[in-house]
């Protein structure tokens, strides 16, 4: 895939070639709707080294609904151009690039973790996996909130739900158009989410203009009978700089 010439690579002077395990890549055909900029964003997203632990894989805490839907989407990654996003403990493992100078902050913080992977104990915090369909700029997040995310007794903390939504918006915005920072975020809570049940989040990218990406999301139960939340988010596009050689 990298062998396709694209203007963006030249613009970035980008030499990182190579994408991780083929299982992560979409199956392309020449008629694919991928733009060249999407390819380079993907290549930046996936690190060269693959011994990092991917947290977006089934484990013993996943409920049956989640496992079933995971399988369904995994099938779609083989046939319909969907991609399963890997999820590492730190965002720096994904992006691996410096934010534009002027925004970058010195990273002497030691061990940093992306917020939605802050609780590493299986099943206790955020259990989730995100699938992305580049051609239609849609993503789906399968989310199972654990007991440490409890709010009302037996239900999920609204803050943790907001966090999961922001994170899914964030990855979608990044892959759909290099969106990096949340500009605004609006959630309407319709129904409480029972602890440890499956939440399916459907996200669509609407318009992209003036350096902003507009997205909407509906979170619902697996059978779609219960709508949990409706939300929308706007992200700021930023051109990331290439990591300087060490």
């Amino acid at each position: 895939m990298i062998r396709r010439g694209f203007q963006v690579a030249a613009r970035l002077g980008h030499h990182r070639g190579l994408l991780g395990a083929p299982r992560i890549l979409p199956r392309l055909n020449p008629a694919s709707a991928f733009g060249s900029s999407t390819d380079s964003v993907f290549s930046r997203f996936l690190p060269e080294k693959t011994e990092l632990k991917d947290d977006a894989l089934p484990n013993a805490s996943w409920c049956l609904d989640m496992l079933c839907l995971y399988q369904e989407f995994l099938e779609k990654t083989k046939s319909s151009g969907w991609i399963k996003l890997p999820s590492f403990k730190s965002n720096r493992d994904h992006i691996g690039l410096n934010l534009p100078s002027g925004l970058a902050v010195s990273s002497d913080k030691g061990d940093c973790r992306i917020f939605t992977r802050c609780i590493q104990v299986e099943g206790q915090g955020f259990e989730y996996v995100i699938f992305f369909q580049p051609s239609r700029k849609k993503s789906v997040c399968l989310f199972q909130p654990g007991p440490y995310l409890e709010g009302p007794p037996g239900f999920t903390h609204s803050g943790s739900l907001a966090a999961m939504m922001d994170e899914t918006f964030s990855k979608t915005a990044f892959l759909a158009g290099e969106g990096v920072f949340t500009l605004s975020f609006n959630i309407r809570f319709k129904n409480l989410i029972p602890m440890s049940s499956l939440v399916v989040m459907d996200i669509e990218v609407g318009k992209i203009e003036d350096q902003k990406l507009y997205m909407s999301c509906i979170a619902h139960s697996r059978d779609q009978q219960t709508v949990y939340t409706k939300s929308s988010g706007v992200f700021l596009q930023l051109q990331l700089e290439e990591e300087s050689p060490q």
């Binding site: 965002n91 992006i95 902050v105 917020f115 409890e150 920072f181």
Partner: protein, 240 residues
Amino acid sequence: MLRSCAARLRTLGALRGPPGGRRLPGREPRPALRSFSSEEVILKDYSVPNPSWNKDLRLLFDQFMEKCEDGSWKRLPSYKRIPAEKIQDFKTHLLDPKLVKEEQLSQTQLFTRSFDDGLGFEYVMFYSDVEKRMVCLFQGGPYLEGPPGFVHGGAIATMIDSTVGMCALMAGGVVVTANLNINYKRPIPLCSVVMINSQLDKVEGRKFFVSCNVQSVDEKTLYSEATILKILAREDRVEG
């Protein structure tokens, strides 16, 4: 069961407050993230300075503690857990830890207190009943990262939601979140200190309209603004 539980154990989830124990008797407790003795966990108030608090946070803490001296402001203690039966007397017990009994504790752990010192949410809240204002001094640690070097938008949303929830709780009662609307003006650097100011704007029946802003310690930088609608809890459903 849920309905009666919800009736007894009104929501604190939208707030920062710890959830009550809805677990059935006989269910195995979950392993705690930390290995404290249960008694230590009960009584430990997390909204006091610890070694991970940086200079800004300590300074602000001292300033607000001074404001508490004449009683116009109150510091809210913050525990990892709270006994289920005490939830309805939440306000009283929040302010008097001696009333907490070990055997009544639930096994659930508060989300925003699930981290070792300095790694996640370090915060303390102060309330002014006269102004119906809740101020949260917040230092976000390295486990709350979003864009490299900055606090995750979702972590900010969690703290805004918690602060606003406590404001509504103190002003009216236990609430759930109906709408959360946040505008992010500038990203917050990881490990820096911010002030989350929330203000009850109006009450219409069971609806509490709260606005909130997130500022730097010198109040010169505005990081985010938010408007939130909270609803006084009823059963286990959100209305509206």
